[in-house]
Amino acid sequence: MNRACAYKKVVILGSGPIVIGQACEFDYSGTQACKALMREGLEVVLINSNPATIMTDPEIATRVYLEPLKEEFVRPILEKEKPDALIPTLGGQTALNLGLALEKSGILKKLGIEMLGAKSDVIRAAEDRERFCRILDSVGAKYPHSKMVRSFDEGMAVADEMGLPLVLRPNFTLGGGGGGIAFSLEEYKTKISLALHESPSHEVLVEESILGWKEFELEVMRDKRGTFVVICSIENFDPCGVHTGDSITVAPQQTLSDEAYQAMRDEACKIVNAVGVETGGANIQFAVHQETGERYVIEMNPRVSRSSALASKATGFPIAKIAALLAVGYTLDEIQNDITKTTPSCYEPALDYVVTKIPRFAFEKFPGSKNVLTTQMKSVGEVMAIGRTFKESIQKAVLALERDPRGFAPVVTDEQRLAIPNSERIFHIVQALRDGRSVDEIYKLTQITPWFLEQLQQLTQFEAVIRAERELTQELILEAKRIGFSDAAIASLRELNESDVRAERKRRGIRPAFLQVDTCAGEFQSETPYFYSTYWSSPAVHSSDKAIVILGSGANRIGQGIEFDYSCVRSVRRFRTEGFHVIMVNSNPETVSTDYDTSNELFFEPLTHEHVSEVLAYVQPLGFVAQLGGQTPIQLAPQLVEDGFQLMGSSLNAIDLAEDRGRFNEICRSFGVAIPKSGLAANIADAREIVKTVSYPVLCRPSYVLGGRRMEVIENDNELESYFERHSAFISKKSPCLVDEFLERALEVDVDLVCGPDWTVIGGIVEHIEAAGVHSGDSMGVVPPQRLKRETAAKIEELAIGLAQRLEILGFLNLQLAVKNDVVHMLEANPRSSRSVPFLVKATGIPLVDLGALAILGHSKSQVRPERFQWQNTKQVAVKGVVFPFKKFFEADSILGPEMKSTGETMGRGHDYAEAMLKALVASSLTLPQGGEVFLSLRDKDKEELLPLIRELIAMGYTLSATGGTAQFLRSNSVECVEVKKVHEGRPHCVDRIRSGQVAFVINTTSGRRSIEASFGIRRSCIDYSIPCITESDAAQAFLLALQRSRHADYSVEPLGQMQKI
């Protein structure tokens, strides 16, 4: 290699908390880039506020700053570190925008820091639509006719001129935030105001609609010499009109002729050159007219992206790693292809398989939001699957969604669900084809390229064959498997048991082969340990000693995200260090765990019983680990054990003891631990009986729920009735509703611990900021606890250790407890690694995941010396901040409850609680208004409690406004305020006041279904206008603390200390 590198120290900006449109793909990219630069001997300084990432592990960079990705915090880091260069192209739009801001502020110039990967001119050229369009003109590329709009009136004039429908694209926002398509003038008016507000530069591009055109994306790279390669072509199943992040996508492209594809490739190259991308990765999106083949450029991103992560996983080409090396001066021909080890990186991967990505959505978490897909991204995660054909690939991808073991399970179709893009559309298309509708009819409704529809039609035609054939013959099973049907799907079509079909298939020797992803379609010898299953080839024999299989967590979803990937990746490393051959199974293309060089072998497979079982049968490991990937692997464990595979760590019985409420409560009772009073109700009559003893408020939830689905706090009889009416479909004798005592205002804590055969290590106690009742994933948290009494903490530790021993935990245990009047109540036990584990690792420096791995391996106390790990020894205070996606879901309420809604977390570290809190809030992109009006609307029980806080706000110079009851209370306590009407009291009302920009922030506490509904407009307007809206009294206290602290801006920035050695 040519050591042309002129840089000694570089700063890499991460992407911050996981939000819709910017998820853990940037952890994957950033981690890869850091590792590559470290290997080159550079000093790498990483800044990211997201503690759940792998990239913020101390080993990944020379120094890691877990600090907010905001100018005022990054500036002191730059001053302290004095790097040679800064790379803003690896952390999504957040890093790119921050890079621009830093450049604009002059700090880079002052300190002599060079911006690598993309100069600010390039970023502006690609991001500023007007400039971009001029560049497209200069290379003769076409694009949708459009106008830049800077005011509402301008917007109306443009609508007049161009006609509807129109697409709105606010400048400089991520994931198309604030954008959308307007079909009617009414809709246009609402959307244009919002879009103008959303754009940091108050500019919105209003664009001719290309709805229904085919959509393509090219992932390209360029080096400083001008060598240009296309890493991957991606074709969207969903035509234009659906954000590419929300579209089902396929790689490589399937329906363009070579002529059309090469013309697109030429254009991409010209654009990249004209924009001025000197080195690195970029993606360019194109629209192609279904009939005429006319081609438009939609947009380009001069950085690694969600699709570049997908492209890396789809091809085996490590885009981010190469981008980082290019940024510091290498050229593509100087970098070896990691996969073949013999050829250079200046080539274009050739694929001999088809890759399908399907996004995963969370509409059910946001009641009121419409399940409609537009140009604004709404999905929270994605799965990818590899098959030899599109049919095999898409069926595997659908199975990877973990919806139904049959894959395309039957649904009842309706025209609307076909015509209007939505998260369920593919299922409705398949059903419509099953019901005999023609490809042509569906094409007319959906504009999906007929080739794709026809492939789906062939699936449904084969379903009919499976159903009709007299016997399950060798040919029939083999053909069905090659088309991607699961055993469960075949069983259901033949009205058999899944296990019978499986047994018959195995008896006939029909087993999957595991083929290699090698970037070159077999042309060169390669040793990449990256595999996918297919029935299109003959099985080989696998050999490895000391193999351990780790099951990942599948698609990111609310409640199961990057935190679990952290546990997987970190433990892979530990198991490898301990000399094991570690095999990773996962279906999520965004993660570090699915990087081919994380584990010894990677199997990119759906996390279903059938697929995982086949991997295990193939690799014959010592055992498999199910406690790292969240709930998904825990649920697979019993079937895999039944298949004869060895579960490592806690036994099935231990898992069941913790998860089965009845058994767990009994154990708690035997320990003398308080548990909330509770009862099981099969109907409303039962429930009425239960509330006589349990007494309101109660917490209701159907059995077998995840992430708090349909969980509600019920305050009175009316609400109870309503609850049972609304959720009757999920409550029955077989699946009764749990009615639990709700510990109002209790202090909630999370405890994570690891248990070996004869030892335990407490990872820490996270004290929640919000009171019990807010889902633990949604509440802010702090380590070390600030309100928990020392003796209570000691009691909790003792209890946790005792319980873990009683449950015979080997590995991880997470407990959720509530403390009320010094009494500790047990809420929940999770026999696995948890969401809070990475946060605790970063906060305390205890390598908890490594310890968990050693526990699973059965290391003894004398080997581990657990007494070395004392979480209380931490000197800094760490606060967990939370980010929510409400903005993307119009009509959704932002009030917090027992159902989890957040997508990501941040960490604020400080010398004291206030500083940590301030940083956590800032990192979560909450603004801290330094003055102005605070609007208050409080429920009765909070008024007295919040009075001192309100007085403090006045003292700090804020003014107050409040609705009737709150205003009256304030006046009676001699606090001055403006009284504002509630929404139902006529206009102008409080929501008008918020929307008109008169309010700096809002404190709105409320409970009870009716008052929650009545105050919805307040919270929604705050979301729409990015005004902080605090909905819990404890959160209000925390917010005040941060406001006070923000008045003196002497923030300390300190790198994360080393993790304790094992």
């Binding site: 010499r225 001008g226 060598t227 240009f228 390669v229 072509s233 490589p252 492209q253 399937q254 329906t255 363009l256 002729s257 070579d258 002529e259 059309a260 594809y261 090469q262 490739r265 030429d266 190259c269 050229t331 593509l332 021909d333 013999t342 050829t343 250079p344 200046c346 080539y347 274009e348 991967p349 050739a350 694929l351 001999d352 398989y353 088809v354 030899r388 054909t389 599109f390 490809v439 007929p450 080739w451 026809e454 062939q458 035609q461 084969f462 064959v465 040919e475 053909e479 083929l515 070159c520 379609a521 077999g522 042309e523 060169f524 010898q525 299109w536 080839s537 003959s538």
Partner: protein
């Protein structure tokens, strides 16, 4: 779906057998080669360089975007068989399959092409046959016969020069697009149409000569430059063409003031190299695809190229005055040469693309710039 199809076999001359679905009427034998391009099946099938070869596509799904007469690289389909995993065949569109069937090209689908490719990669290119066959034994018997016949037929002394089978049999004139441009003679070894298009776009007049044409005949037409095209087979068997090129080179050395710049592509490159005294050898399994990186030392850049060749020039065999101008970065093989004194340049890859990336088409501009006017 199944049922209506008949099963068939692809059998290699080393005995390896693949079962799949057979589409077509006639069985055929040929040299089995694989191409890793994602698209461009129609261009490949009509490329004369695939003469007598069975084409295996590594991209699993073929025929997805139908057919288009405009992209034909010659007037015929030259391949002797088409093998892939899955081929578009529905009531809406089965154009590609029909085209192949009408051209009597046997098609095999459902083949585990990955296993086949890995085998060819490790064992080297082999002959093989696509046969229908009642059962394996009968299929083997038929295949072996076909392969033997084909080998005998294609390698017999008078048929060994494959360029003669595919090139134009008479001289053909074409007008170029640039009235003031050069006159270019094309020595046709089995030219792809797009080479001619690229030349026509840059010349005033073009005359295409059959591969056996004599240097004197070419010079008599008084061209400003000569282009040597791509073509099929072993360059060592292209004796007439090599002799002609040798004489053209001698003309350039002897008459530097009247030199005819010579530009060779693929077979043209191999023939030129041999004419300059070099030797060619058979690659283990060839280079066929659209993603091969080339370092161009002339223009000082790296670009992706379209490739389709089974033979290569041995750099050790080249006289020292011959400069290696282009290198294949995958395996460091020779991908282009030039010789100052005899005014020539040639490349192993396809600057005319079709299929494949277009970047190296700048070589046509470079060629035209070298022409003495």
């Amino acid at each position: 779906m199944s049922g209506s199809l008949s099963s068939g076999y692809l059998i290699l001359d080393d005995g390896l057998i693949f079962q799949g679905e057979f589409h077509g009427e006639v069985a055929q034998a040929g040299e089995v080669v694989f191409n890793t391009s994602h698209s461009g099946y129609e261009e490949m099938a009509t490329d004369p360089s695939y003469y007598s070869q069975i084409l295996v596509m590594t991209a699993p799904q073929q025929g997805n975007y139908g057919i288009n007469a405009r992209v034909w690289e010659s007037k015929n389909i030259w391949i002797r068989g088409f093998v892939c995993l899955d081929l578009q065949n529905s009531s809406r569109d089965s154009e590609w399959l029909h085209l192949l069937r009408n051209a009597h090209v046997p098609v095999m689908t459902g083949v585990d092409t990955r296993r086949l490719v890995l085998h060819l990669r490790s064992q080297g290119t082999r002959w093989g046959a696509i046969v229908r066959g009642e059962n394996e034994a009968m299929a083997r018997e038929e295949a072996n016969k076909l392969i033997e016949n084909a080998k005998r037929e294609k390698t017999s002394a008078d048929a060994a020069d494959w360029t003669k089978a595919v090139c134009r049999k008479t001289v053909e004139d074409r007008k170029g697009a640039v009235a003031s441009g050069p006159r270019i003679a094309v020595l046709d070894f089995g030219s792809k149409e797009n080479i001619l298009r690229e030349i026509a776009a840059r010349c005033s007049l073009m005359r295409i000569f059959p591969s056996w044409s004599k240097a004197d005949d070419i010079l008599a037409w008084n061209p400003d430059a000569v282009l040597l095209t791509n073509g099929p087979g072993d360059p060592a068997d292209v004796n007439d063409g090599t002799k002609t090129v040798k004489e053209l080179l001698q003309h350039n050395v002897k008459h530097p003031e009247r030199y005819k710049f010579i530009f060779g592509i693929c077979m043209g490159h191999q023939v030129l190299s041999r004419a300059l005294g070099g030797r060619t050898y058979k690659l283990k399994f060839g280079h066929r695809g659209s993603n091969h990186p080339i370092r161009d030392r002339l223009l000082n850049r790296i670009y992706m190229t379209s490739q389709n060749h089974g033979y290569n020039v041995d750099p050790q065999s080249l006289p020292s005055a011959v400069e290696v101008t282009h290198v294949n970065l995958n395996d460091q093989t020779v991908a282009g040469i030039s010789h100052r004194e005899s005014h020539c340049l040639s490349v192993q890859f396809h600057p005319e693309s079709h299929p494949g990336p277009h970047e190296s088409s700048i070589l046509f501009d470079y060629f035209v710039k070298q022409i003495r006017r």
